[in-house]
Symmetry: C2
Subunit: 214 residues, 2 copies
């Protein structure tokens, strides 16, 4: 499989973690979101991913899958071991909901394209951008910390799930934008437990082939 990825994209980061947890052999095809006016807007890429976003996972038969959550569900359904969602329906819904606090309520609002649009249309400053990032991440983390379990290695039990995948990727972004993580000691503990696993570490932005010094 081939993953179109950008090292700093938290959505691509999620899929890298999932692929690693599943033990899938894949190659990275970098899509630089800032170079060349944004390589995600190149016609060849848009043919694979019409919403102009990363990641895209191309299967061995050439099928292109988009949207990180849909890709991870696909991986979990076609390669069930180890499972990324619990089997019990209510717990499963709770894991999905926690993942969506991050992947739906935080990340899309803080997406690069949104920030670029804010800067262009409303001429907001870099400090305003940082405030914007921290504002939505903080609201999301308040909610996330209220729903994760308190006495387990990971967010929902002692094996990592989709909720942890989304948490770890969003934590990278939270640090990048200087969010004060002091109120989120439980989330920080979960991040630490995740990053003790090679599947998470190998997926980190700084360990990607397209990682840049700044």
């Amino acid at each position: 499989m081939k993953l179109y990825s950008y090292w700093r994209s938290t959505a691509a980061y999620r899929v890298r973690i999932a692929l690693n947890l599943k033990g899938v052999d894949y190659g990275i095809e970098p899509v630089h979101l800032l170079a060349d006016g944004g390589q995600q807007h190149a016609p060849d890429y848009v043919a694979l991913n019409p919403i102009h976003l990363v990641p895209t996972l191309v299967l061995s038969d050439g099928t292109a899958l988009t949207q990180s959550l849909a890709i991870i569900d696909y991986l979990d359904e076609t390669q069930p071991d180890p499972p990324l969602l619990p089997a019990e329906p209510v717990l499963r819904a709770q894991v999905r909901a926690a993942a969506q606090i991050t992947a739906v309520d935080i990340h899309p609002v803080n997406n690069l394209r949104v920030v670029q649009h804010l800067e262009k249309q409303f001429s907001i400053s870099r400090e305003d951008v940082a405030d914007w990032m921290r504002h939505w991440t903080g609201i999301g983390f308040d909610a996330l910390q209220a729903v994760v379990h308190s006495d387990t290695l990971f967010s929902f039990g002692d094996t990592p799930t989709l909720a942890d995948i989304c948490l770890v990727a969003q934590y990278y972004n939270a640090r990048r934008w200087g969010l004060d993580l002091t109120p989120y000691s439980r989330l920080t503990e979960i991040e630490k437990n995740c990053l003790a696993l090679e599947a998470f570490r190998a997926a980190m932005p700084e360990n990607q082939p397209d990682a840049a010094p700044n």
Copy 2:
């Protein structure tokens, strides 16, 4: 079951459609997003839904489920007939991805809380808000129209799926904000085919107990 809902929330609209398609008996508990400083911020509600958003589905045993996509997955897993996702993994991933163009890439960026924050922090005008809504919806609909099937009753085949549920709800919002739908004739056709079904019609904002004249 009891659904905490706001008539104009497209996320609540999605869950109403899914409940109706599944034939679930449920009651509506209105949460007025503008009255009383936002009833979604009331402590009793936040105890059910820590991210301060609608919808929340409360099961007969009192368990509260949040996040529209997670709720719909729960319904589909526990009450499989009629299915809201195809069984074949790639098609299933494509339906999920199409749903997420709407539910992840359009809706969260256009959410009421985001617009309220824009108005407060950057003093943007109502016309700017309308432009913001139309901008993100248009980008999303361009992508959505590129991925739906062209010769079927619904987005992916001749029975409605999660993709159609998300499309119909977002179409309500697009009309509300005056997006020119002329370029989206295929999406408009799918919306029409969906709204021919009572399950969709009964879920429409104007058919809710809390619908208001404006």
